[in-house]
Symmetry: C2
Subunit: 697 residues, 2 copies
């Protein structure tokens, strides 16, 4: 395993949006604001303007089994989570929407490739050598730390202590502080030199860019010790983030990995996909599936996990002609909140609101295809219920990107953890197809008949083969190969020499002295015209890459709020399209008369494709609704004694808790059109009579 130099951090950034955010950097907003770190996190407020306490939403989500730590009865396994019924339904709906929004709408070629991947593939892609983080071991306790996180944590603590010492914090509970001091080696109020403060801040701003040796030096220089033991740590070692395994019984050592991204499978199938697409360009492939990263120390719940669902698009485009997109016109007036590189360099985090048309024409966003996808990504996120004011697109800094990258933007969502990178949208250029083609010889290229044949003027060489053979014997082939390999520049030079001297000298490694003289009876060099009818090129790749788990978690924070009133309860205001369950059926009581209605309604709703649940428990209607507000169920239908009489039903909307009452047909029709997004609740409330009679508690 090699050291991890700067460039691969960039490469890894490129290889997918996760690489960077899941493994080589933290995701807190401050991280992305060079040159100065903003240590105070902006506050996260819900739609009702209240501060969101993360422990409240996380405990709600776990209690209602949106997600749960895996293998909990066995003590759990860090960085692994299971989705329970509502989380699973939410995930399925988001995936379904993604498929419709991207794959079907854009006619993409979806593929499902295996997660098990032979070593050779990931060797070529660079992951085997460079996809690693730096870890430090505490020799006394055996604990392992991610080196950059460790340095970062200690320096941040010291800066906080300095702030405190400078009187920038107030009212410190002394008893509490004394307790804390015992636990932590860092004093809570300790002034630093002004110069040191600046140095720390600069180090933190560059924390993502240090290699192992540099991190080791920082640890020594800043006297950072094992946090629990206080002893010197072992020097940083590279830890490859891929899970290794052995495929088949004959391997005597690990010969494969679990994929760290879905992209490679798509690249390897490029030739077949192009053929499937009847050789027509541009086109995109897409893939939805699990990927794996062996995080050194997973934290932050669903945001940094070892097994996660990704949805990735590889859009293959001709690098010539400015990477135009045929549907760019449809989106050009859409506004995006763009935090560009220049702004970040100036130390600000204030994004500009710009139409994508302007952003592309000014060169801020590199090309139309990239710009088109940024808009499509925004549309998708908004459909899921993302709060527009908590969405921004952040441009990668030059040192975050790979050397071959044209441009890269992340869609970031603001959460209680700060700004989280949830979608990456990068221009990977021709890098991946090129390395795999070079390694395997497979023609991962497009061959296109030229509309206008291309006439090329070049120096061509004729060898007098009949004489060459007898003269050079066993070396004849090597000489011929050396001559064939001559560049156009050399050929031009040699043609002049040949004219002037009647002979030339050619480098022929391995033949005689390494140089071979050729006289003009053996060789002729002439400038001639050649016509090329077919153009061959390696497509560039624009890659929008979605971390579904991160998106799910962020959306849940965005739609969560607390309904005031006695026993204030959480509400998850998912849009109907993505809500785990669409309709809750609530019979007034367990009375026998209600049962046939429930059965009929369930069947009818299912037939029109609306998922529904029955809650016929003995709790009050109000309680049952509250319980389902927490699950994000947008609509509720009550069956009461009036229903038995005249087959009318009440329909309740989750966010407003307003109700309407109408015939079964009208209510079913309204639900269907609400769930399909053809009507809003306001539309329905206008055309159906309001209902206020029911006692919900």
């Amino acid at each position: 395993m090699r050291a991890l130099p700067g460039p691969f951090r960039a490469l890894s950034t490129f290889s997918s949006h996760f690489t960077k955010s899941f493994s080589t950097t933290s995701f807190c907003a401050a991280k992305f604001q060079p040159p100065k770190l903003d240590l105070t996190m902006a506050e996260f407020t819900t739609r009702t303007g209240n501060l969101l306490d993360r422990s409240v939403i996380e405990s709600t989500l776990r209690r209602r089994m949106f997600y749960t730590p895996s293998f909990e009865i066995y003590g759990g396994e860090r960085g692994l989570f299971d989705y329970g019924p509502p989380g699973c339904a939410l995930q399925a709906n988001v995936v379904d929407l993604w498929r419709k929004h991207f794959v079907l709408e854009e006619d993409m070629l979806e593929v499902d490739c295996t997660m098990l991947t032979p070593e050779a593939v990931l060797k070529t892609s660079g992951h085997v050598d460079k996809f690693a983080d730096w870890m430090c071991k505490d020799p006394k306790s055996g604990e392992i730390f991610r080196a950059d996180h460790l340095v970062e944590g200690v320096l941040e603590d010291r800066l906080k202590a300095d702030k405190a010492a400078r009187g920038q914090t107030v009212e410190v509970d002394e008893a509490k502080e004394a307790k804390k001091k015992k636990k932590s080696k860092e004093a809570k109020a300790e002034k630093l030199d002004d110069a040191l403060v600046q140095e720390y801040e600069e180090t933190l701003a560059k924390i993502d860019n240090y290699g192992g040796d540099e991190l080791g030096e920082l640890i020594k220089k800043y006297n950072i010790k094992g946090p629990t033991t206080g002893v010197d740590l072992e020097p940083p070692k590279a830890f490859n983030l891929m899970f290794q395994t052995q495929i088949g019984p004959s391997a005597d050592k690990p010969n494969g990995y679990l994929r760290p991204e879905t992209a490679q499978g798509q690249f390897l199938n490029f030739q077949k996909l192009l053929e499937f697409n009847q050789q027509s360009m541009p086109f995109a492939s897409a893939s939805i599936g699990k990927s794996f990263r062996n995080e050194i120390s997973p934290r932050s719940g669903l945001l940094r996990v070892r097994e996660f669902l990704m949805a990735e698009i590889e859009h293959f485009v001709d690098p010539e002609g400015g990477k135009k997109h045929p549907r760019f016109d449809e989106v050009k007036d859409t506004k995006l909140s763009l935090l560009n590189r220049k702004t970040q360099l100036a130390g600000s985090t204030k994004p500009d609101t710009v139409t994508i048309g302007d952003a592309v024409s000014s060169g801020l966003v590199d090309n139309e295809t990239l710009g088109y996808f940024l808009v499509r990504i925004q549309d998708f996120l908004l459909k899921l219920g993302v709060d527009h004011s908590k969405l921004r697109f952040r441009q990668h800094m030059a040192n975050e990107m790979a050397h071959y990258a044209a441009d890269c933007w992340d869609a970031e969502l603001f959460t209680t953890y700060g700004w989280i990178e949830c979608v990456g949208c990068a221009d990977r250029s021709a890098y991946d197809l090129t390395v795999h083609m070079n390694k395997t010889g497979a023609p991962l290229v497009v061959r296109e008949t030229r509309a206008q044949p291309l006439v090329i003027e070049e120096y061509q060489i004729d060898l007098e083969r009949k004489k060459l053979g007898p003269k050079f014997r066993k070396d004849a082939k090597a000489v011929e190969a050396a001559v064939d390999a001559l560049s156009q520049d050399l050929r031009e030079k040699l043609s002049l020499e040949l004219q002037q001297n009647g002979k030339i000298e050619v480098d022929t490694p391995g033949v005689g002295s390494g140089k071979t003289e050729l006289e003009k009876d053996l060789i002729k060099i002439e400038k001639r015209k050649r016509t090329e009818y077919v153009r061959e090129y390696t497509p560039n790749v624009i890659e929008p890459s979605f971390g579904i788990g991160r998106i799910l978690y962020s959306v849940m924070e965005h739609v969560f709020w607390t309904r005031e009133g006695d026993g204030a309860r959480g509400v998850l205001s998912f849009p109907p399209t993505v809500a785990p369950t669409k309709v809750l059926l609530v019979p007034l009581s367990g009375h026998q008369d209600f049962k046939p209605f429930i059965k009929k309604l369930t069947a009818r709703l299912r037939r029109v494709g609306v998922s529904n649940k029955v809650d016929d428990s003995s709790a009050s209607i109000g309680k049952r609704y509250a319980r389902n507000d927490e699950l994000g169920t947008p609509f509720g239908i009550t069956i009461d004694f009036q229903t038995v009489k005249d087959n009318t039903l009440t329909l309740r909307e989750r966010d407003s808790t307003k109700q309407v009452r109408a015939s079964e047909d009208d209510i079913i029709g309204a639900v269907k059109s609400l769930v399909d997004g053809e009507e809003t609740w306001e539309d329905v409330a206008k055309r159906l009579p309001a209902f206020e009679g029911q006692d919900l508690e």
Copy 2:
């Protein structure tokens, strides 16, 4: 790694349908017909009565990218396949249907658990010790063989050679045979003793039940050598079929596996799921996801792979009361083709056609819940396009099942590979929940308030604790525990002794001599009544388990046929619900006037949720349709000059190639109701005017 005794084969069978069919047995029909092997495979004919040549369908499926070997440009990796666009869409539709048919229809609790699994979990489940196959190494070539497959192959060859020698085959091309003989060590016609023939046949019938030592003995006894080298093989060694890996940076050896089934994740979440279901029983959990098995030598295309999609249901049911199912009445008259244990023992493969009501009441199928699921499985498979005459349910033989199993039936589909186990439906009893509870102490049980409190008469013990402490001091607790642990039988006996002798002697391991005397001032034993208000029980599990890849492949064989005519081409007659693409849009030519119609139609179809593709290539309409018949697209819409004039369209049906012509609204409406399954093509053809004018070639 321990040897692999008989019982675990059964256990493994039980742990999911794959275990057996994917790893411990082959899937050819002959395998399931004890006591005699039927060496001639029945022929597989398509719906038009023609013999299906497997190479034809497999090459079509690969050419059209339904699936493709993974990593092919790197030389491929055996047992791994990628799904291309049509395969991927087919898979997504099948999964969607599964979710609707089972999860939504039956209100199941879907969960999505991680594939990475810590060792402890799979140690408890038995997989670490026993989930293995036997492999043999050729010391000369290094080749590795699955021991049972090797024995089987050689014996089958010898039996064939015997048949040939007995004149049961005809016309042997001698030159060809001579060539073959050189390659293979087995002579092509070589008579065996009658006794040996019988011995071979008996061995083959039992091939699934041999352990490693027995296989080793068979190899010696029958003089089986390395097939390519002719040398003696190394003795069989157990090879665990799970992929091993290292989770986290601190492990110094592998500490986890990729799951071999989704079931364990569901069991571990039982408590939380019961809580989510408001403590109400019965209920089912369900899971769709990839599982992994490190096959020794994968073969047979999609049927035996190392990474595969499973859909599993764990239905938790009270073991008391006969495992009734509330919806059994709805299905009781449905007929199934059941190949029961008795028939198989009699050497026949002729299934009986029985209603599930009769099968359950006669005890053939163990209980209602199992029976209910068999019907639901059949319904599901038929919806996918399975040929009813190629579906049977085969009951497991006693030695295929685990000792704790009540009953187990496999849904098998007939293919060119023989009868393939595609869905297993087993009663796993309380096994899994019990072992995990015993290991972790988590209460994986149901606690239910008894409708009638249960009065229990039992011997109860009172200890005089005040005297016990001073008397036994540090041993007091141990004595108390030993007394508490006394069985009812012992208590009865001791109460008599106490009455008679005024003292008793109790086994107290680790205290004094191991026996402790207690006098009647210390202990009282009395028969008393106790009332139990809560019943606690471990649910049983009925587990329908689906191998999605096997189902996909089998369905593709079932719906494939060849249309006669010049340039006969394949047709995949998928039902509209599961067809990868529903509608092909075909403009008569590339004429500009057609473009707006195409655009409008595409958008309209998408809006009503109908996936569609445009083929505007320059091929004839007939060719374009033929190309899409191969992809299984059920409907085609042609846009011609008449369309431009009057906005009418023609609609073509794939199987009949019949067409109708009507207004855009009528055609879209018809397509929608065809795809939703509300109308058949016959319905549509009756109500819309036929069209025969178009020249398709």
